[in-house]
């Protein structure tokens, strides 16, 4: 050991901190560009010298890296690089696609240029970027990041000490942000099938009224509309209240419990159609059960990530979006229901059998959601 240290003694002296002695250190150039919604265009320039050390490119060992040698390693380079870059959004990773590679000569040598697209769940909310390329091999490596937003540019240096960065697409205008949340809210009504089913179940009997144990048709579209608007508004007000309370952190309920109770509300609504208990003031039912749906929406909104600067804006947009989605459903279905309300098809097939079917689905959900943990002891 002593001999070894001595042998290198001189080597070190000569590495005297002489000005400008060094070569440019190892860097990669990572450029992200927000393109269309939920997609990032990525360009990543990685030095062949670094890849040579990490993966070995000079297959024939002649000291020259040719295009042929690089090309046959493209797959390995792609998976190596992508394994060291994660962009996460709302708990989900953005998926890379259409990966291509070309070559670029930078001032200090040749780089392979990876271009690809990242499909993210949502891009109007903060994205977490996690960069680990070469840090295990060369802690002095740096990722030079540049993010192009529609209205500006952000740059950062990624290092082993700071491998993560939150990308805040704040460059979106407030109006744009509002629209984004509005769209997410409307969209959620379509994706969150349980909310939609609940609403439909509540509205199915709106074109009819109960008399002496029989369904009778309601006369006049106006009366029907009043009933429907009442139900939808009550539902909206209820879930807006709890959604806001949950997002602002005033009330917090376990999501498994919330999801189970939401399933239960669908069941209650369906059973009420089959064995009517609440007959006249359906809006009361919509309001009381709607309260729990708000907690369900809240989990979505929290996943989306709330811009701290615009909580009210996001909440308002999202709520209005939910409302819009609901109205779209109502507008599409109500005229049809009104026309068909006197038919056997509507009363038997849709109202009775439909509600029974919905009850079955709701029971299945309820079991699935509440028994998430297997009960069997193995």
């Amino acid at each position: 050991m002593k001999k070894l240290a001595f042998a290198f003694l001189l080597g070190m002296v000569l590495m005297v901190p002489v000005s400008g002695l060094a070569h440019k250190p190892s860097d990669s150039y990572l450029t992200l560009r927000f393109t269309q919604d939920n997609t990032l265009a990525v360009r990543w320039d990685v030095a062949l010298r670094d890849l040579e050390y990490a993966l070995g490119l000079d297959t024939n060992g002649d000291g020259e890296i040719t295009w042929g040698e690089l090309r046959i390693r493209h797959a390995a380079i792609g998976s190596y690089a992508l394994a060291h870059l994660k962009i996460v959004n709302g708990g989900e990773s953005c998926d890379p696609s259409s990966l291509r590679q070309a070559v670029e000569n930078h001032s200090d040598g040749a780089y392979t240029v990876l271009t690809f697209e990242l499909g993210c769940p949502y891009t109007h909310s903060p994205l977490t970027l996690d960069y680990r390329l070469f840090f295990d091999l060369d802690p002095s490596h740096r990722g030079l990041l540049r993010v192009d937003y529609p209205t500006g540019t952000q740059t950062a240096v990624l290092s082993p000490e700071q491998p993560q960065l939150i990308l805040q697409p704040t460059a979106h205008s407030r109006w744009r942000q509002f629209l984004d949340y509005w769209r997410e809210g409307g969209w959620h009504i379509w994706l969150g099938f349980d909310h939609l089913l609940f609403l439909i179940t509540l509205l199915l009997p709106a074109v009819l009224r109960r008399e002496d144990g029989h369904w009778r048709q309601v006369d006049g579209f106006r009366t029907v509309m009043t009933e429907v608007v009442g139900v939808v508004t009550a539902f909206t007000i209820a879930h807006s209240l709890t959604l806001s309370a949950a997002v602002l952190g005033w009330i917090s309920l376990p999501s498994r419990w919330v999801e189970s109770v939401i399933a239960a509300t669908v069941l209650v609504a369906a059973l009420n159609n089959l064995y009517p208990v609440v007959r006249t003031r359906l809006w009361v039912l919509a309001f009381s059960l709607g309260l729990i749906h708000g907690f369900g929406f809240a989990s979505v909104l929290v996943d989306l990530g709330l811009p701290s600067s615009a909580v009210a804006l996001a909440l308002g947009g999202f709520n209005l979006g939910v409302e819009t989605g609901q109205l779209a459903v109502v507008i599409a279905l109500l005229p049809l229901a009104y026309v068909l309300r006197n038919s056997w098809f509507y009363r038997r097939a849709l109202l009775q059998m439909g509600s029974a079917g919905i009850a079955v689905i709701a029971v299945t959900w309820l079991l699935e959601r509440s028994l998430e943990v297997p009960l069997l002891p193995f």
Binding site: V13, H23, R43, R146
Partner: protein, 392 residues
Amino acid sequence: MKAFAALLVPGILMTSSWSIVAAPFVPQEDSQVLERLLYPADTPEVRELRQWRAELSRQPHNLDLALRLAWGYVAQGRAEADPRYYGYAQAVLEPWWQQPPVPVLLLRATLRQNRHDFQGALNDFAAVLEIQPRNAQAWLNRAVILGVQGDYRSALRSCLPLSRLSTQLLASACAGSILSVNGQAQTGYRLLQDALDNSASADKREQLWAITILAETAARLGRVRAAEQHFQEAFRLDLRDAYLLNAYADFLLDQNRPEEVRNLFQNDTRPDAFLLRLALAEQRIGSPETKAYQQQLADRIQAIRMRGDSTHLNTEARFTLHLLDRPAEALQLALRNWTVQREPTDARLVLEAALAADDPKAARPVLDWLAETGLEDVHLAQLKQRLTGVQS
């Protein structure tokens, strides 16, 4: 020419963000060479490093093996002037990095020194010397850092133990390197010359270091012919050494021999320092290549700046002064560099920039320092004269 070049590179260094301008291409032929490695896989150094790396991956907790590999990387980094290898060395020692045993502490100090984290390096060397007061390596590196910082008295004190702990040549080179800049250049020169005469069988690296100091000292004393002879003597040792090449290139530029600088670096512009000197030579020759080299250098400086490294200040100041012809900006960079390191070239940069910027007052701290240390250097003396002439 200079002004023209400056116009062509408008504000490249002023922007804080970077962007990729050129478009990537897809080569047509598989045989097209994209990158040349300085040391191909079949060179003994590389083969050895690969073999050690493979062994270490099988026994990752073998400290002796890790140290051998790490020092191998450091040596290779020095030969290629490529800081990547210092990163590799650090990664190899990662398991011991936070609570380093003495050998790892030494290596960590060396890497910090390379990164111009002088205070961190001095702390590490002090920690080594506390445990092993007879560690020659720590004394030597400590002397070198203190010398670069301009603390010559402490540097000389750190050279003293070497006469007992190490070879005569090394001890003399240590002392000679300090004496040559603190007003006793003649003494230092004689000391080194004697030591070299008595150490014909000494280690080649030790000889190279000593001869390089001799050459630089002779050049500073204005003994051009002696300096040229020492440089040739150093090259005859046939060790690839970036420091020697840079020192020789500066000497050639001072002697107005830019064609020789071009021959020296034309085929190796990897290190920034080589590229800078090549660009300066091309500019002197008046060749059209100047612009391309200048752009390359600008790109690199920008990337290094973006990383937040301070190792580039000297290069950047010189680039800004001589290639971009922006003296005021160069002066600021040179002064900042002066707070980090105080070698004769660093002093010279400040004086040249102050003169070009017509701001002799800014050179005051350096002039005072020169008077205090008594540094003998014909170029500095000329600059000093011109500056004080301007002032009066």
